[in-house]
Assembly symmetry: C2
Homo-oligomer: 593 residues x 2
C-alpha cells in the first residue's frame, strides 16, 4: 500500500528546487519552515491513511450513471467531505475568499500525494482549483462574491468545458453557442465531451466554466468566450435555487481513472427551466475566453505532470515492495539459503532503479516549475519576468516528461510483478491504466512539444533557455569539482548531455529563424524528452550535492550516477533525431499515404 | 477494422527472410509458391472476415466461470469450430496424424493474422500446437495414437501446466506431485495457476501437459517430470469416458486478453472419480520433464513474439486510419481548406512511422527465426547445427523485441487517438491491455535477455553470433554500394549500429569468460534491445534492397531510412549501458535496500 514519501518530497522542495532558500530569504512572506513541515506531514497522513485505501474501490466500482445522476464509488463522497474540511482545497486559494494563499510548491507536493493515493479522486479538486484560478483572475466582483468562497472551501466543485466532438486540440472550431440576454446573463447551447467530474454526488453544486461562441463572434480562436454556468442557480441569499438547463447525458467507459466521471454535458436542451438554454455569466471579456482559459491552463498542465509523478511514485513503491518479498531463482553472487529475492537479480534492480530515477527526476522538474511560478508571484520587474519565463519554459517539459514517465514507470512496475502484474487484483495494472490518460489530456504531449519549441525557446530571444542551460552547466561543474569518487563518470555524463541539449536548442532556434518550421516540429518530441532527461540528471545531481543531514547522501549520489550513466546516454540519440531526423521523416510521408 | 496485410507478410517471408529462395532451391520439399500464396490469402480472409469481428466482443464479455464450467464469449465456440475445420490447427502438425507438415514460416505468418484479429482467441491453438509438438517429440507411440490426431485436428485442445504460486520463473521449486500406479499410469496432485485455456466450452476434451515431481525425484529442476492429463479419460475405442479428477477452480480477472480463460487448475482433489488423484501418463522419461518442455518452449516463445508483431500491426493500422480521417489544426505547409488531417502534423507522422518501423522490424525478426527453424529441419550435419543455433540465437530477441514493440506501438496508437484512445469503445486501449502480458509470460523478457547473453552468445564459442554479425555487415555494405540517394545516411547508420552490437557482444563474451557474470547480466536487457534495433534496421534494408515488383520499393527505402536515422541512434546509448552501466547499477543497490 502507498505510503506518502514525505521526507523525499520535503528534501526535493527544500534542497533541490529551493523552497527553504526562498523562505530564508524572506521571499515567501511569513511562511515558516515549521508550517511547511506540518502541512506536508499532515497531507502525507491523510493521503496514506484516508485516501489510498479508497483508491482501489474507486477503480473497481467506477462512477455510475442513472437518469443523469452520477454516483461516485462507495465512500468517496465522505472522503471528499473529510478532505475539504481539512482545508486542502484552499491551500493556494485567495485569502479574501477563505484560501490560505500558500505557495504553489506546497500545493503540487500535496497534489502528488492525493494523486498517488487516487488519481481518479484527485481530479475533482484539480479541476476546482483551475476554476478558482480562472474566476479569481478574470471574473467580475459580483461573480467572485457569489461563487469563490464555496469553491475555495470545496463545498462546490468546478469543471472546465472545452472539448467538443470536433474540437479537441483545436478549440478554434468549437460550436457551442451563447446568446446575450437583456439582464446581462447569457444562454448557452451545445454539447461538451470529456468533462471531468462534470456531474457527481460529492458536492452540493457544480460550477461549469464553458467555452462558447457568441452569434457575432469572429471565426476561430478569437471568437471564443468563457462563461460560468452553475448546475444549480444561486439565490441572492446564497442558497441554491432552480436547476439550470444543463445535464450529464452519459459517462465514458475508460481504460483507467474509473472513479472519475468523464461526462458528456448537454447545455440548453430544455430539460430544466422554463426557457431553453443554460443560464451563464461571462467571465472576462467577450471573445477573450481562450486567453482566460490559458492563464489557468499552465497550472493545470503542471497539475497533470504531478499525476505522472504521483503514479510513478506509487508504482515504484509497490514494485520495490514486491521485489523484496518475492523469491525466485538465484541471483549471481547470492549466498543466502534457497531462492533469492528477485530484487537481487541485476535486471530487476535495473528496472527498479530506472523507476526511481524517472520518478525523482520528474518530481524535481515539476516542483522546479512550481518554484518558478511562486518566485514570479513574489518578484517584480525583470526578475518577475525571468521567473515567469522560467515557469513557462518548464511547464511543457514538466507536463510531458512526467506523464511519459508515469506510463513508463507503471509499465515497468507491471513487468517487475511478472504474471501477478497482469492480474487486476494486484493493483499494478491500475497504475498503467490510470497513467495512460495523462500524456493525452490538458494538451497532448505532442502539443506540449510544439509549445516548447515554437513559443518557449524563443522567449527573450532565446535568452531564457540559454540562461537556464548555463545554470545546468554550473551544476555539472560542481559535480566535477566535488572530487567525490562515488559520482563515477557523472560529471562527464552531465556535461555531454547538456552539450546535446545546447546543440539541439541552437539548431531548433536557427531552423525557426530561417522559417524551417516543419523541420523544427519534426524534432519537437525528441527535443522535449532530451530536455527532460538532462533535467533529471541535473536535479538528481543537485540533490546529491546538497548537505545530507538525513544520512542519505550516498544513496542520492548513487541514484544520480545510475541515471547519468544509464539513462542520459540517450540524449545523444535524441539530439541526432532533432538535428538529423527531419529529412527522413519528411521523405517517408508517402509510406503513410 | 483490422485487414490482414497479406502482401506485406508475403513480401517479408519471400524477400526478407528467404522463403521463396528456399522453395526455389528445393529446400522445402514439394512446397510451391502457389500453395504459399493460397494459404496466406485464405488465412488473411479468415482472420479479416471471420475472426476480427469477434475480437471486441471477446474483450467486452470475457470468459466467464460458473460451477467450474467456463463459457467463452458469444460466437467463439462456433468461430473455433469453423477455424479448425479450415485445417488451420494442423498447418505444421505431423502428417501421420493428419497434419500438413508445412514450414513454420507459414504458421507464424498465420499466427500473426490470428493474433491481430484476436490475441485472446489465438491463444487456444497456440497452446494446442505446443502440446502437439511436445507429444510428437517425446510421447510414447501409444499416447500419440490416442491423442495426436484429435489434437492436430483441433477437436481437442491442449494446455501447458507449469506455474504454481511459488514457482514462476523458477520451476525448480514446483510442488505438484505424481505417484506411480501399477498399471503404468500416474496420479497427479497439486495446484497450477495461469493455465491458458485450461477450461472452456469450445472443444470436447482438453489435454493438459503437467509438470510434476515424483516422490523419489531429486530436488530442483532435475526432478521434474511431464505428464499428460486429459480432462476426460479416453476409452479404447477413442470415445470419451469418465471425467478425470482435475477441475478449474477459478479464472483470473486480467488487464487484457479477457476472452482467454486464465485458469487455476486443481489436480487430484477428489472432485471426480472414485480414487483421489488425476490420472496421467508420463511423457518422455521420468525426471526429464523440463527438457521436454524446453523443446517446445522455443517455438512457444516465437509464438509469443508473434503476438507482439500482431498487436503492433493491428494497432498501427487503426492509428493510421484514424489519423487520416481526424482533422485538427493546421499542419505546417497545409494548403487544404479548413483543418488538416492529423497525419499531416510532423509529430503524428513520427509516431506512425515509428509504429510501422517497429512492426515491420519485429515481423522480420520473428519470421527470420521461423526460417532458421525450418532450415534446420531441412538440413543435415553442420548446416543443421548452424541453423539450429541461428534459431536459438534469434528466439529470445524475437520474443522480447517483438513483445516490447507490441506494448510500445499499442501505447503510441492510443496517443495518436488522443482522448478517443482512452475510451474503451474505440478499441485502441484493448491493444495495449492485450499486449502487456506478452513481455511477461513464456519467460519474462528479462529472462530472455539472460538466455541470450549466457546461453546463446557462447554458441560455437561465439562463432554463431560472430557469423551473424558478419552477415549483417554485408547488408550494410550492399546499401552503401547501392548508390541510391534515397537511402540518405542509412549505410553509415547501419554500420555504426552494427559496430555498437559488435562491441557490446565482445564485451559480454569477455566478461563472462572472466567470470564477471553479474556485470554481464546487468547489461543483458539493453543488449537484447540493441540487437533487436540493429536487426530492425538490417531487415528493413534487406527489404528495401529487394527487387520491388510491387512498386513499393521507394516506400521501403524511405521507411528503412527513417528507422535507421531516427530509431537506430539509440544503439550507441544501449552499447554504453552494456559496457559501462554495470558499475553504477551495482553501486546503487543500496538505494533499493
Amino acid at each position: 500500500m502507498y505510503k506518502a514519501p514525505v521526507e523525499e518530497i520535503s528534501f526535493t522542495l527544500n534542497h533541490v528546487v529551493g523552497l527553504s532558500g526562498a523562505i530564508d530569504a524572506g521571499r515567501l512572506g511569513d511562511l515558516s519552515q515549521d508550517l511547511v513541515d506540518a502541512i506536508l506531514e499532515e497531507a502525507g497522513r491523510f493521503a496514506t491513511n484516508e485516501m489510498a485505501p479508497l483508491g482501489e474501490v474507486g477503480d473497481r466500482q467506477g462512477a455510475r450513471i442513472s437518469d443523469g445522476a452520477v454516483t461516485t464509488p462507495d465512500g468517496w463522497a465522505d472522503l471528499y467531505r473529510n478532505w475539504r474540511e481539512g482545508g486542502w482545497n484552499g491551500l493556494t486559494g485567495p485569502e479574501a475568499y477563505g484560501g490560505q494563499n500558500l505557495p504553489h510548491m506546497l500545493n503540487v507536493a500535496a497534489l502528488e500525494m492525493w494523486n498517488s493515493a487516487s488519481m481518479a479522486f484527485a481530479l475533482a479538486p484539480t479541476l476546482t482549483m483551475g476554476a478558482i484560478e480562472a474566476l479569481d483572475k478574470h471574473g467580475s466582483d459580483e461573480l467572485k462574491a457569489i461563487y469563490l468562497e464555496k469553491l475555495v472551501s470545496g463545498e462546490w466543485t468546478g469543471t472546465m468545458n472545452l472539448t467538443e466532438p470536433h474540437a479537441g486540440s483545436d478549440l478554434g472550431v468549437l460550436k457551442t453557442r451563447a446568446e446575450r440576454r437583456d439582464d446581462g446573463s447569457y444562454r448557452i447551447f451545445g454539447q461538451k465531451i470529456y468533462i471531468t467530474w462534470g456531474e457527481h454526488d460529492a458536492a452540493d453544486n457544480i460550477i461549469h466554466l464553458v467555452l462558447a461562441r457568441l452569434p457575432d463572434a469572429p471565426a476561430g480562436t478569437r471568437g471564443i468566450s468563457l462563461f460560468l454556468v452553475p448546475k444549480f442557480l444561486v439565490n441572492e441569499d446564497g442558497s441554491l435555487g432552480a436547476r439550470n438547463d444543463v445535464f450529464c447525458h452519459s459517462i465514458e467507459h475508460k481504460l483507467g481513472i474509473h472513479g472519475s466521471p468523464t461526462c458528456t454535458m448537454i447545455y440548453g436542451d430544455g430539460k430544466f427551466g422554463e426557457e431553453k438554454g443554460a443560464i451563464g455569466w461571462l467571465v472576462g471579456e467577450e471573445n477573450k475566453g481562450l486567453a482566460c482559459m490559458f492563464t489557468m491552463m499552465n497550472n493545470a498542465r503542471l497539475a497533470v505532470g504531478m499525476q505522472g509523478v504521483a503514479i510513478a511514485e506509487a508504482a515504484t513503491q509497490k514494485a520495490i515492495e514486491y521485489a523484496r518479498e518475492r523469491t525466485q531463482g538465484k541471483a549471481p553472487g547470492w549466498t543466502g539459503s534457497g531462492m533469492s529475492p528477485i530484487i537481487e537479480h541485476p535486471d530487476v534492480a535495473r528496472m527498479l532503479l530506472t523507476m526511481k530515477a524517472l520518478t525523482q527526476g520528474s518530481r524535481a522538474i515539476c516542483y522546479a516549475c512550481a518554484h518558478a511560478i511562486d518566485m514570479a508571484h513574489h518578484s517584480q520587474g525583470d526578475e518577475a519576468k525571468a521567473w515567469s519565463e522560467r515557469a513557462a519554459l518548464l511547464t511543457p517539459i514538466a507536463k510531458s516528461f512526467a506523464t511519459d514517465a508515469g506510463v513508463d514507470v507503471a509499465s515497468l512496475g507491471i513487468q517487475v510483478h511478472g504474471g501477478m502484474g497482469f492480474i487486476e487484483e494486484t493493483g499494478a495494472a491500475r497504475y498503467l491504466r490510470d497513467a495512460r490518460i495523462a500524456p493525452i489530456y490538458e494538451g497532448t504531449n505532442g502539443i506540449q512539444a510544439i509549445d516548447l519549441v515554437t513559443r518557449k525557446l524563443p522567449l527573450s530571444g532565446g535568452g531564457q533557455v540559454g540562461g537556464f542551460i548555463a545554470e545546468l552547466k554550473e551544476v555539472a561543474e560542481r559535480v566535477a569539482s566535488s572530487n567525490e569518487p562515488a559520482f563515477g563518470r557523472t560529471a562527464e555524463g552531465l556535461q555531454a548531455a547538456i552539450s546535446d541539449l545546447e546543440a539541439a536548442t541552437e539548431w531548433l532556434l536557427k531552423a525557426q529563424a530561417e522559417g524551417r518550421v516543419a523541420e523544427a516540429l519534426a524534432g519537437a518530441t525528441p527535443y522535449q524528452r532530451l530536455f527532460g532527461l538532462v533535467l533529471t540528471g541535473v536535479y538528481l545531481a543537485k540533490g546529491a550535492l546538497a548537505p545530507a543531514e538525513d544520512g542519505k547522501g550516498a544513496h542520492r549520489i548513487a541514484l544520480c550516477r545510475f541515471a547519468v550513466e544509464n539513462l542520459l546516454p540517450e540524449t545523444a540519440a535524441l539530439n541526432r533525431q532533432v538535428i538529423e531526423g527531419a529529412a527522413s521523416l519528411e521523405a517517408a510521408r508517402g509510406v503513410l499515404a
